[in-house]
């Protein structure tokens, strides 16, 4: 314990300052979240991640959000194991035809109010896989999307900015359903 106390005098915490919400993301949210009820949820969001066909690159960077540098839980954001516990679905990948039904069922298993965040370039429009016989396309072709976070894959800070924007916008525009 003495060693720990001693070291903590010299070592800075790994966790970094929270990034500022991204302006473009805020703009995209303005219309989507107009009617959203934020007040009920309090300042916390539970996220269910759904890989609907990604190459796993986005998942690697989503994983990174949980490491000590980003420590996403300090923002009140946490990843949960079941869609039934979730407020937000973070969906990656060009939705493959083999995953379409699983994505739909996950969406319907998520209680209202809920938001869908499409993560990565593939999730926007299928990315470089668009046009394949095996791919539906972007996430919005299957379920309604509230926010896109671009990138291949987006860096963890870009995802944090997008998610923070989701929270801030939702807080400001709290409207009861």
């Amino acid at each position: 314990m003495r060693k720990l106390l001693f070291e903590s005098v010299f070592r800075q915490p790994l966790t970094e300052r929270a990034p500022l919400p991204d302006d473009a993301a805020v703009a995209e949210l303005a219309t989507a979240l107009g009617q959203a009820a934020r007040r009920r949820l309090g300042r916390s969001l539970s996220i269910r991640e759904v890989d609907a066909g990604s190459c796993n690159g986005c998942e690697l960077e989503i994983h990174a959000l949980n490491n000590a540098y980003y420590d996403i839980e300090r923002f009140g954001l946490r990843f949960v194991a079941s869609p039934r516990h979730a407020d937000v679905l973070m969906v990656t990948g060009p939705v493959t035809k083999n995953m379409r039904e699983a994505l739909e069922r996950t969406y319907h298993a998520t209680p209202n109010p809920k938001w869908v965040v499409a993560v990565g370039d593939c999730a926007r429009n299928g990315g470089c896989f668009a046009g394949s016989y095996a791919v539906v396309g972007g996430v919005s072709a299957v379920i309604p999307v509230d926010l896109h976070i671009p990138g291949c894959p987006p860096a963890p800070t870009a995802m944090l900015q997008g998610l923070l924007a989701l929270l801030e916008r939702a807080d400001a525009g709290a409207v009861t359903l």
Partner: protein, 503 residues
């Protein structure tokens, strides 16, 4: 016993085939090759189709000779290799799903990648309409008193790729695990057809996110071999630097994640910090944390600057400082060892039969490492050990990773200190007419194989084979007689790719 060379002489050699021979054989030689595989004299490296042909890449384990044998299938069928040699079975099921070429005599004719959702059957062969209603997928039977099934996925509880696992358990003990994959099939083989090399390497780099460097590397080497292209020395070394950074980042992440599945979150936290330091250094040096789209045919698209070198050296110093204490913690924590030692044991004969690549094979006595066995540059001039263990349990797979982290640290040092000056990219000629080649590169997970045929500079056919094809079935084998709760440990210690497999 005929050598691979003798065998290839029996067939009709195909011109411009680099760097290994490809021969067109008849059904009897094809079946003979399958029997040699079954007897363990050769290893299966890959098995893939074209609209009316099947190809099989094989390696002689003694001499590291490699050859591709091809069989024309005018009747839309070929003698099953999987009938004699089980590692071929899933590959044959995939060939049937994509091309409509059936493996005659195969003991398993169920679909694999095709879930009857594409709207077509045989999308890369003679397309026909999908079935109006597909029969439910028939899982293999496990019968006995008190057995119960546990169905998991395709959407899993964590941040994981999708796939389905069907456990049959007796109490807590797993009697049988059966995987069903194909959920992330994106039709990459189909998208490659007719693509330019620039688009091809972009697709290759998005085949499996954690191996984006390895795939771009293998694809580019295949393209360059086909075009007889020599790339600048600096690019040769930078590619190895990228590959070792990718290996380092993935191993560090995996060591932590395996421990996390034994509830040892402390290791996960510290390893996550080290992994992050590698990604940040990669981002500083190459402009992308996962180093995507840096390797391209002809060389590399980005050079490294002095500050990039400094960022990588700083990350390495940090890992050298912190990693040994974590290894000691792993080695001296009984509760952790209790979960990893003797868990999920892969016996060496089975690893050999499946030609298991990467840490899965090397933790079970298999010495193959493409960097050493095939010694492609610059690895032929770098010093490194290939760690091998025989125990084959989760613990052994952790230790192989630990040793490979140490080797990668040393390799990166050597590469940085010997980095040649000069250009990093050379112009890619169009090539003209037909050019063919194959390349094998050691990714963090094992050997990534890319086979390529170009026509007038465009891709006529490209097939990529992830090491996971031969690792997934072994995961089914090792979980048997372990408890359900040990599955995450076994699974994470394999860390097979879904996207790379489903393609």
């Amino acid at each position: 016993m005929p050598s691979l060379i003798d065998l290839t002489l029996e067939g009709r050699k195909v011109g411009q085939r680099r760097p290994w021979p490809r021969v067109v054989v008849d059904a009897s030689v094809w079946t003979f090759a399958a029997a040699e595989l079954a007897h363990g004299r050769w290893s299966l490296l890959g098995l893939w189709g074209e609209p009316a042909t099947v190809h099989m890449a094989i390696m002689d384990g003694q001499t590291a000779e490699i050859a591709v044998v091809s069989l024309d299938c005018p009747n839309r069928s070929f003698p099953s290799v999987g009938r004699h040699h089980p590692p071929a079975r899933r590959l044959e099921r995939a060939i049937n799903d994509l091309f409509g070429l059936s493996a005659e005599g195969s003991p398993d004719a169920r679909p694999w990648l095709d879930h009857n959702r594409w709207g077509v059957r045989f999308p890369l062969g003679d397309r026909i309409d999908a079935l109006p209603k597909a029969a439910p997928y028939r899982f293999l039977a496990a019968e006995g008193d008190g057995l119960h099934q546990i169905a998991v996925g395709p959407v899993h509880a964590g941040i994981i790729e999708p796939g389905h696992f069907r456990f049959t358990a007796s109490g807590e003990t797993v009697v049988r695990l059966e995987q069903r994959l194909g959920y992330v099939h994106k039709g990459i083989d189909g998208l490659m057809t007719g693509a330019s090399l620039a688009r091809g390497v972009q697709l290759a780099a998005r085949t499996s996110g954690d191996s984006t460097v390895a795939y771009a590397y293998a694809f580019s080497r295949a393209a360059e071999a086909a075009l007889d292209l020599v790339i600048p020395d600096r690019a040769v070394f930078l590619r190895a630097l990228l590959a070792e950074l990718e290996r380092l980042a993935n191993h560090l992440g995996d060591i932590g994640a395996i421990c996390n599945d034994a509830s040892f979150a402390l290791m996960h936290a510290h390893c996550g910090v080290l992994r992050e330091s590698v990604l940040r250094a990669a981002g500083a040096a190459f402009g992308h944390r996962l180093m995507r789209d840096v390797i391209v045919p002809g060389g590399v698209s980005r050079d490294i600057g002095a500050d990039g070198v400094q960022a990588i050296r700083a990350a390495l110093d940090n890992i050298r400082l912190r990693f040994p204490a974590l290894v000691e913690l792993y080695d001296n924590t009984a509760s952790l060892q209790d979960r990893t030692v003797d868990t999920g044991t892969l016996k060496p004969p089975l690893a050999r039969q499946y030609a298991a690549g990467g840490y899965v094979g090397r933790a079970s006595g298999r010495t193959f490492d493409a960097r050493r066995t095939l010694a492609y540059p610059p690895y032929d001039s770098l010093r490194f050990d290939v760690p091998v263990l025989d125990e084959g349990d989760v613990n052994a797979r952790v230790w192989i990773r630990v040793r490979e982290v140490e080797q990668s640290l040393s390799l990166i040092d050597q590469i940085l200190s010997r980095l040649p000056q000069g250009p990093t990219r050379t112009e890619v000629p169009l090539g003209g007419e037909v050019r063919e080649s194959m390349a094998i590169v050691e990714g963090f997970r094992g050997d990534v194989l890319v086979w390529l045929r170009l026509r007038n500079g465009l891709i006529e056919r490209c097939h990529m084979r992830d090491p996971s094809w031969f690792q997934w079935p072994l995961l089914e084998a090792v979980i048997e007689n372990n408890i359900v709760a040990d599955f995450p440990l076994c699974n994470k210690s394999f860390n097979c790719s879904y996207s790379g497999h489903d393609l």
